[in-house]
């Protein structure tokens, strides 16, 4: 349970990061907040000969918003900064809620959104809201920049599209339409300071009582955060009725692929997906349209 020895690097620019990655290859690990990497090293779940800290890299810092681009989150934006942001609270309430209930104050003060996502845990709390808001991940390598939708960034537990020489530079989250309604729900056995047994984000737009578009992402119930495509198909263009909401919730329940672990049985998680999806739908469909 001791932190094994490694060489620590504190670059201040992306160019330096690329140079270090090129020099040390697979034995180098990028570290953002370190709240996953360092415990992982301690218990021997992960190894690193070199740890490259990203906290001093100026290109990765900061959070900004404008009405055209939307929200830009530098990879090293810490969770508490996102959680405190007024624009996030106002325009991206599901992301705000996810961060508010993620881990503890102490962890949120260190951990970053990029770290939460690059760790690629199926239960990462920031994954489903960012996916539901249509976030784009900007990956920067020595050869240049590539962009991909966040929902295709995840490959499997602990695995992402990030190349060995690449750094996740920032996320861009488009400005949500004024009439977008969204909600994050986390289900766990403790009220706080807990890992989710199930989490999900629903974002939808209503025109009258017809659902113009719904985005539903489920966490912890598949190897990666997953889009509940069948539930969305049920909802898109449909008139809101109690039966519709139940049908969509049942579709989400049936399409998710949870495993039994000691947090809950697969069967129970499916049931929770059904209940939470239906409740999220009910809440958003009855919510007063924002002014």
């Amino acid at each position: 349970m001791r932190l094994p020895a490694f060489e620590y690097h504190a670059p201040t620019s992306l160019a330096e990061v690329f140079a270090l990655l090129a020099e040390h290859g697979a034995s180098a690990k990028l570290m953002a907040g370190g709240t996953d990497l360092l415990p992982g090293l301690k218990i021997g779940k992960r190894t690193a000969g070199h740890v490259i800290a990203l906290k001093g890299v100026r290109e990765l810092a900061g959070l900004s918003f404008d009405e055209r681009e939307g929200l830009t989150l530098g990879a090293h934006t810490r969770l508490f900064e996102v959680g405190e942001s007024e624009v996030v609270a106002e325009r991206y309430p599901a992301l705000h809620e996810a961060i508010r209930t993620l881990a503890t104050v102490q962890v949120r003060n260190k951990a970053t959104v990029a770290g939460n996502l690059c760790n690629a845990s199926p239960c990462a709390d920031t994954a489903t809201p960012l996916c539901a808001y249509g976030a784009t991940a900007v990956l920067h390598g020595p050869g240049g920049v590539r962009k991909l939708p966040l929902e295709s960034f995840f490959v499997g537990p602990g695995k992402t599209q990030l190349g060995e020489q690449e750094v996740l530079e920032r996320f861009v989250v488009p400005p949500p339409p004024a009439d977008l309604r969204s909600r994050f729900i986390k289900f766990s056995s403790r009220s706080r300071v807990d890992i989710a047994a199930v989490n999900l984000t629903l974002a939808l737009r209503l025109v009258g009582d017809v659902i113009a578009r719904a985005d539903l992402f489920l966490g912890t119930v598949a190897p990666t955060p997953m889009r509940a495509a069948r539930a969305e198909r049920c909802l898109d263009g449909a008139r809101v009725t109690p039966e519709l909401l139940e049908r969509a919730a049942a579709a989400a329940r049936d399409e998710c692929k949870p495993i039994t672990d000691f947090r809950a049985s697969a069967e129970y998680k499916r049931r929770i997906v059904y209940v939470m999806t239906r409740r999220a739908l009910e809440a958003l469909c009855t919510e007063e349209a924002s002014a």
Binding site: M1, R2, P4, A5, I43, F187, S189, R190, S191, R192, V193, D194, I195, F262, R263, A264, S265, Y268, R271, I272, V275
Partner: protein
Amino acid sequence: MSPRRETLIGKRLPRPDARAKVTGTAEYTDDIVLPGMLYGAMLRSPVAHARIVSIDASRARALPGVKCVITGRDVPAIRYGNWRLVPQLQDETALATDKVRFVGDEVAAVAAIDRATAEEALALIDVEYEELPGVFGVDAALAEGAPVVHDEHPDNVSLTREIDYGDLEQAFAEADYVREDTFTTHAVSHAYMEPCSTLAKCDPDGRITVWTSTQTPYYIQCLLARTMELRENDVRVIKPAVGGGFGGKMELRPWDFAAAWMARATGRPVKITLSRAEELSAGRRRHPVTLHARTAFKKDGTILGRELTAKLDGGAYNGMGPTATFLIGNFGAMLYRFPAYRYRGIYCYTNNPPAGAMRGFGAPQALFAGEMQMNLAAQELGIDPIELRLKNAMETGDELPGVATISSCGFRECLEEVRELSKWEERRANLRPGEGLGLACYSFISGGVFNWFNTKYPFSSAEVKVFDDGTAQLTTLAADIGQGSDLILCQILAEELGLKLSDVRLVTGDTAVCPQSDLGTWGSRVTLMAGNAVREAAQKIKQELFGIVSLDFDLNVIHELECGDGHIYAKSKPKKRIPFGEVVARAQKARRGEPLRATGSYTPRDCGLVSPAFSFGAQVADVSVDLETGMTTVKGMYTVHDCGTELNPMAVEGQLEGSIQMSLGYALSEELLMDQGRTLNRTLLDYKLPVAEDMPPSISKTVETFEPKGPFGAKEAGEGLACPTAPAIAHAVHQATGYFCKDLPIRPERILEHLDRQGG
């Protein structure tokens, strides 16, 4: 003329250690660093049951930086255990010799120049195991032809305990209604915030000093001396600040021995601190128990008798199990008048990690079964659960034949008050779907009277010195492990001598300095036993001081003198008074300068087999269950309890809040998840301790009684409260959902299964 002098009894006094703990400056064992200190680590068995074929530590010994490696073959295999009275029950050696019996059983220990080297060395110790089939529960352990955990006990039964009185056959023959159920309770961790830590140092003359996180310094001293083949007085145990124990730190532990042995072998101090993963996977835990209860009632609710059988899953060793086996039987007969009672407790060895004492110690299990039965019976007999209890409630003067006498009891008042406090009738009449109000009660001991440790010393001792500057010093081995007893004992002394709390200095936690002896912190014994010892010492001082000044007062008898407000005065003429320090100076002069000191002690006598005094209480849980997810939320807790005189209400409240937090986890979220003897949830992320935000609002009230055997009328507060919370919540869940939990913890899946069956 003068009103009653000002008293410290019943004052809301904050804990003097609070500031240091909150600001992180309190010094725990792991904070201590000595020159030349080595870091130790324990090698633990990766398998649940195996014969050790060979151990080769040569690669570990060759690793640079490693100063010492010991295995069970390098040290004398001396068996130890707290039950010194019955040596056959002492079944543990510090390091495994021929066999390992649980995942985590200690096999070897290493001391090295730093932790990393010590841990690296552990991986270099080659142990060849011949794996044996294991037993992982009481039924498996008791089955015909089951694998044998200890060869001395081919049936895997370490011991049985019986209690039997009254005519049980007649009771059941006369019964109108018999309630018969089987309950199971689960293993949970103490989850004290400070993991165990030990630092040992050996003097050149071979004497050992050990700083260790313990609730029982005296036990560590005696048992460590024995395993090290030293005299008791050659071992000095110092207890620094301790971050909780809850029963989990009241035995000699293999790392105490390993640190001391390796310190002697190397001549350098050795420190061993456990990780949370070690604590959760190999630390002591609450006994899982299977309880079979039959209770006989008359139609009107009168209890005629009870038969209770308890099978304890003790894990690989006895630990404190023999005591738990008896206490479950005792608690099974508490609270109500049972004209006939028969108990049989069976302590089973299994290949699970050993269980041990834990807050409530047998009572949470016994009272879960007992209180659930009371609630079921109330429903089926059509009697209000509070009325059913009032009908059968114990009262002051009641006896458990041959076992205990109840010298003070406010149980009836607790029931009446909790009915008011929780608005019981009104709330129960207006519950919405998914809501429930549940009740459970408890009774608990104030220290144990049974001398299983076989000490020749008093159970508690105190030495009081007084000085001519008007101050006093209390020296005692009574162990504050976070419960706040240091403050209570100082309060008792200050009260007795009429001094301010700030006039009292406390010296504690050192077997070489404190008077012999004190059995430590367990069974809610400190306030009553150490409190009585402190009072006795203080009263001796007073007698001496009163004698010195009696002629200064125009009195017939010295009994009219009193201490108060830093002075000695006559009760009838308080205006004339002499400063306390001045009287001490005169006493000292009269003694040719010898300081004035006195010792006091307490050992219970003629108090039956269990305890000098019993607390009582009743608790109501207000819950709401999400009928779609099965999740239970506790919305409020109402507690009324009888702890005798409340010496410090603030301390009592702290105990109460803590016990609700702990029992909330026991009822709903905490469980050590086991697979073939392996603990799966080894982090506090996956071991679901309730956090601050899970805490429900809690309202409590104290019923004042006066316990004649306790200091200023005080008795137990806080440990017994670990009992009613789980059955009260389970009762409320039953009302909310119809699901009657007989197997703890209350799982949302089980609630949904029940609702599914009801619905379709």
